[in-house]
Amino acid sequence: MSTHVLADTGVLTGRSLRHILRSPDTIITTAVTPIALMLLFVYVFGGAISTGSPDAYVNYMLPGILLITIASGVAYTAYRLFLDLQGGIFERFQSMPIARSSVLWAHVLTSLAANLASVAVVVAVALAMGFRTGASPAAWLAVAGILVLFTLALTWIAVLAGLSAKTVDGASAFSYPLIFLPFISSAFVPTDSMPGPVAWFAENQPVTSIVDTIRALFAQEPVGTGIWIAMAWLAGILVAGYAFAIAAYRRKAA
């Protein structure tokens, strides 16, 4: 349709990144809750939690905190998309000779940039709180790759939410269960301390395999088969989220 897909996506991404730069509070508020949780767990509950590891508790819980950061950050993606739809600028773009996919991809790339910025803020605070890792550059790269995949997967769910929402509140409400999911996983306490059915759920939901993989990468331990389970979950969520979001977009764009 258009031979300028990449250029148009770049221009539109620049636009929404400018939105974020003009309201940097969205990055800060995304990072504040995970940081508060981190302080709470490390300095209040941490002493009473036995992880069965001699490592500092902040090392144990950082992977889960990073996932919570992203899960709350994608709410802003849905929010920004919803505002574009409401404000009519979306229709202006749709009526212009540009590739329609550019409009969505711009939001997706912006979501990726914003969430990685929030993650960087949280990691910096964790380092100040005593988080240490001897992870190799390759292990860091693997962690970054997993977080990018996780962000993309949740972003497409956010796109779906933003496209189908009727109100601003509805656009971001989808993220609450996503934020809550890490609490019923191995993110904060080992799953074997939980009662039977809860432990079963915790061990078989996606967050646990992702958290365990990131934790192993940071601790320079073998990731085992867990990484493949994590990858399968991420790929599955990504593909399903993408498919549903694109279907919703087609309906919307007629």
């Binding site: 250029a7 148009d8 221009v11 636009r15 939105h19 404000g87 009519g88 773009f93 212009m96 764009a253």
Partner: protein, 260 residues
Amino acid sequence: MTAARALDPAIRVQGIEKSFKDLQVLRGVGFEVKAGSIFALLGSNGAGKTTLVRILSTLLRPDAGTASVNGFDVGAEPAGVRGSISLGGQFAAVDEVLTGRENLVLVARLRHVKDPGAVADSLLARFDLAEAGDRRAATYSGGMRRRLDIAMSLIGDPPVIFLDEPTTGLDPQARIEVWQTIRQLAGGGTTVLLTTQYLDEAEQLADRIAILHQGTIIQNGTLAELKQLLPPAKVEYVEKQPSLEDVFLALVGDTRKEPR
């Protein structure tokens, strides 16, 4: 008005129907708009004006009927239609977070015109927004937003412009500013299709007026033709009272440059 050469009509609409669930909004709409003219689609709220504009700008598919814009079929060649049109008006789709200038540069980049910055600056000057160019659009008055909206629609010189209720919600002075802009556009050869619920707006601006009522065009003609539908004018002596608009404009200082 500059006489358009004997070209095909810029917009051709035939038998367009559209329903939303049980509600039939358009029941077989048809008309043609000559290139370079101003065509007003007059109708009350809910008459289906916006639905028709959304169909013509490829945002919505009709249930039945055909339409072409600048020779491109809206169903079969939507990319060609989008390359020929601009959409503006009622919703004043400007990006509030960006400044006026950034809004113009954004559209200029997306339309791949040369030197987006220079295009933006010349439009800011032309639309009397140069001073406000570096302010966020959120701080603009209704009239300024609408002018910015129309300025954004002009980038890339699309031959056809749709303006959906371009003056709804504007104060009288801003309305007159927008009217002047629309006249200039058509003077430059652009085909303008505007929708309005204001009778005086259609009367002031349009070369042809179509009245959309309950989903069909019930009349379509020039102002003179429409006036002939009523019995010939009787001569009566009526004291000429100034209208409230005259009073208001006299008090605040009339910005009209070309009285009609």
